[in-house]
């Protein structure tokens, strides 16, 4: 079996996926670690954890493609690709019917129009502002003192979502506080926050043709409230996989298998290459 890996070094979290090919391509295992301050270290840790998960020796991995915003920092990778190409490819693997990808991560959101073979036809990304990204949600969770995992489900209970206008991730804090001061329920505030971001994201996404077969990827896809809000604004269902958070890394892994070609040369990972600890 040929074994390759994709490592997606995101601004918030680093995702690694090990894929293997013999006949068909399979995802052998995956891992998630916080990116933190040391990007290189995070990439390595993610990669090693994914190897452990898959029961694969790091030395047995033949090719590694890095993606995500920290991709140039991966010392042991063979090559890099942008997260746009990778998310498209990953989403297409998870759902072959994918024609549109909406990816929401920690710092950016993007929409990708995808062709039949998972190729990128067109894409858009948000601008240089954390407004309306996963970070915005994480911040809202923090202000409300609610865990990141809980805000989505809680927002679904909103009866009268408040109207949030501030797009600034920092200013939204005081908006939230003033709504709470007015006696609004946390779920209504969260409902408003989710709706505001969904509107923003959809209006961005409409710059590419949104065709049926919409797949959501990225960390925010784990937030059920956001998924629902997006569906509501889009007026369409989305496909969300359990592995959606790993779509970028998975895509990178698929590219890695492809790039490996026939000349399979094992041992790209050597312990001696690793960043010194401590």
């Amino acid at each position: 079996m040929r074994i390759a890996a994709g490592v997606d070094v995101g601004s918030t979290q680093t995702k690694a996926v090990i894929v293997g090919e013999d006949g068909g391509i399979r995802m052998l295992g995956y891992a998630l670690v916080d990116t933190g301050a040391n990007v290189q270290r995070a990439a390595e840790n993610g990669f090693l954890a994914a190897c452990r998960e898959s029961g694969v020796e790091p030395e047995g991995v033949g090719y590694v493609v890095g993606t995500g915003y920290g991709r140039y920092k991966i010392t042991f990778g063979n090559t890099q690709m942008t997260e746009i190409s990778c998310h498209a490819r990953g989403a297409h693997y998870l759902f072959p019917s994918t024609r549109t990808v909406i990816d929401m991560g920690g710092q950016d959101s993007k929409a990708i129009s995808v062709g039949e073979h998972g190729e990128v036809l067109d894409f858009v990304m948000n601008d240089k502002c954390a407004a309306g990204t996963g970070r915005f949600l994480a911040n809202a969770a923090e202000v409300l003192g609610i865990g990141l995992e809980e805000i989505g489900p809680l927002s679904l209970r909103a009866r009268h979502p408040v109207k949030i206008t501030t797009v600034c991730t920092v200013f939204v804090e005081s908006d939230i506080l003033s709504y709470l001061a007015q006696g609004k329920k946390p779920e209504d505030v969260l409902g408003g926050v989710h709706l505001a971001i969904a509107r923003r994201t959809v209006s961005l996404a409409r710059r590419v043709p949104i065709e049926p077969g919409i797949t959501m990827t990225g960390g925010v896809s784990r937030n059920t409230g956001m998924v629902r809000a997006l569906e509501e604004v889009l007026g369409a269902k989305m496909q969300v996989s359990q592995q959606a958070h790993f779509a970028g890394a998975l895509g990178a892994g698929l590219f890695a298998i492809e790039k490996m070609g026939e000349s399979f040369e094992s041992g790209i990972w050597r312990a001696s290459n690793a960043t010194p600890r401590g």
């Binding site: 746009i84 129009s113 036809l121």
Partner: protein, 447 residues
């Protein structure tokens, strides 16, 4: 991603171009010390031929702003202008120019004259009018308007031409009074004749880019030629320069030389470049061996590759026609779509790159729609990146590079699967993309 390869071509014309532009700044300095009169003019659809007839030097604030940016000197004057009350969202070209005026900064360090007349040739850009109004105010110079009707019909109307010709003649009178010189009609016709020759050469140069590989980059290299085009178009120096440029590039084309050892992608560029990061931006294309085969920005001063020339037999009327219909700024937005479409087809391009420039609403207001037209209606791959042409604060290198890489990755992938088309084939002619929201959406909102 490939190795970054030096993409810039350096020939005789580059040296000549530099000399010509330095000479221009010298002439302006002479003008400041009692030499020939200077008249401020806007680049778009300019009437530099009129100035030739007075022996006057054109003073182009845009060229100054551009020079400041490319020399990384634009931020200070921009900040100085913001102190005067200009908004963060005003066109930074204007801010750089006015700020430099107020602070006494000039791009080359040479002195600039106070113009005898600030002649606002209002050709398309509304910001021009404000710019010139302010420039006159801050320099205490006389101000005149040359109002050019916007091209709102398929063809210019006789009324439009008559209106412009009348104004041109009024300006001639005004210039006679202000400069104390007589309008030399013969010299005017001679200038128009020179222009026609320059235009012929320039147009042929542009057509060289239809070859594969293209001998020059019709965006980045074209900009080198644009300075002389505006300043010297109506003069023998201009003719000499452009005919030399044509020869030089023709020879290069005949040798089959391109910009890179191998030309991988041919794109059409829309929007002005980010001058403060000109190099960096160019290198991002070079990294993928992508070249611009045509650009709308290089038709700001005039659009000649589709056949229009000034006419010495009808000098005033041809000036009017040029201002009205044969430069990109005075043509309507849909005509610009069409221009780009023709470039894709006739210049054999793979894709379109739109550089959204925050400063310039003339170019950028609606570029999202333009993008939709190309990707969705015509099926041409189109990249959209944002920054600014003058203000260095709006250039985010990592972000632009990321988008550029993703775009070319996709093109490469498409090529490997045989789905990347070039030229006429690139345009699927498959309308049916999402032009307006679906009927169901309409209903939802109306309820």
């Amino acid at each position: 991603m490939g190795e970054t390869q030096a993409s810039e071509y350096r020939g005789d014309i580059h040296r000549q171009q530099r000399d010509l532009m330095l000479r221009w700044y010298q002439r302006l300095e002479e003008s400041a010390h009692g030499g020939p009169p200077a008249v401020s003019l806007m680049i778009s659809g300019n009437c530099v031929e009129l100035l030739e007839a007075f022996g006057a030097v054109p003073l182009y604030p845009e060229v100054n702003a551009l020079q400041l940016a490319i020399r990384h000197q634009s931020l200070d004057p921009i900040l100085a202008a913001e102190e005067l009350g200009y908004a963060a969202d005003n066109c930074a070209y204007v801010k750089a120019d006015i700020g430099a005026l107020v602070k006494g900064i000039t791009p080359t360090g040479t002195e600039l004259p106070v113009p005898k007349l600030v002649l606002c040739n209002f050709v398309g850009c509304n910001t021009y009018v404000k710019w010139f109004e302010h420039a006159a105010e801050f320099q205490n110079a006389p101000l005149a308007m040359l109002d050019v009707p916007f091209l709102r019909t398929a063809e210019p109307r006789a009324e439009d031409v008559a209106y412009i010709v009348c104004q041109l003649k009024e300006i001639v009178k005004q210039l006679e009074e202000l400069t104390g010189r007589r309008f030399d009609y013969d010299r005017f016709r001679e200038a128009v004749r020179c222009s026609a020759r320059v235009e012929e050469a320039w147009s042929r140069i542009k057509h060289l880019a239809r070859r594969t590989p293209t001998p020059f980059d019709a965006y980045f290299d074209a900009i080198t030629l644009m300075g002389p085009l505006y300043v010297y178009r109506g003069s023998p120096e201009g003719v000499e320069f452009f005919e030399l440029a044509l020869r030089e590039l023709q020879e290069k084309a005949e040798r089959g030389e391109g910009i890179y050892d191998q030309e991988r992608f041919r794109v059409v560029m829309e929007g002005p470049p980010p001058y403060p990061f000109f190099r960096t931006f160019r290198d991002m294309f070079a990294a993928w061996k992508a070249t611009a085969v045509a650009s709308t920005y290089s038709t700001v001063g005039g659009l000649w590759e589709f056949g229009f020339r000034h006419d010495p037999d009808h000098p005033f009327e041809s000036l009017a026609m040029h201002m009205l219909a044969h430069n990109v700024t005075n043509r309507n937005y849909l005509q610009r779509y069409d221009q780009i479409r023709r470039y894709v087809e006739e210049w054999d391009a793979d894709a379109v790159v739109i550089h959204f420039v925050k400063s310039c609403r003339l170019f950028s207001a609606g570029q999202g729609d333009m993008r939709g037209y190309f990707t969705q209606q015509l099926g041409v791959p189109t990249l959209y990146v944002e920054s600014d042409l003058e203000d260095p604060r709006y250039f985010s290198e990592a972000q632009i590079r990321n988008r550029m890489d993703a775009f070319f990755e996709a093109l490469e992938h498409a090529r490997s699967t045989g789905t990347l088309h070039r030229g006429v084939a690139a345009i699927r002619h498959a309308p049916g993309g999402e032009i307006a929201p679906a009927a169901s959406d309409r209903l939802k909102i109306l309820q």
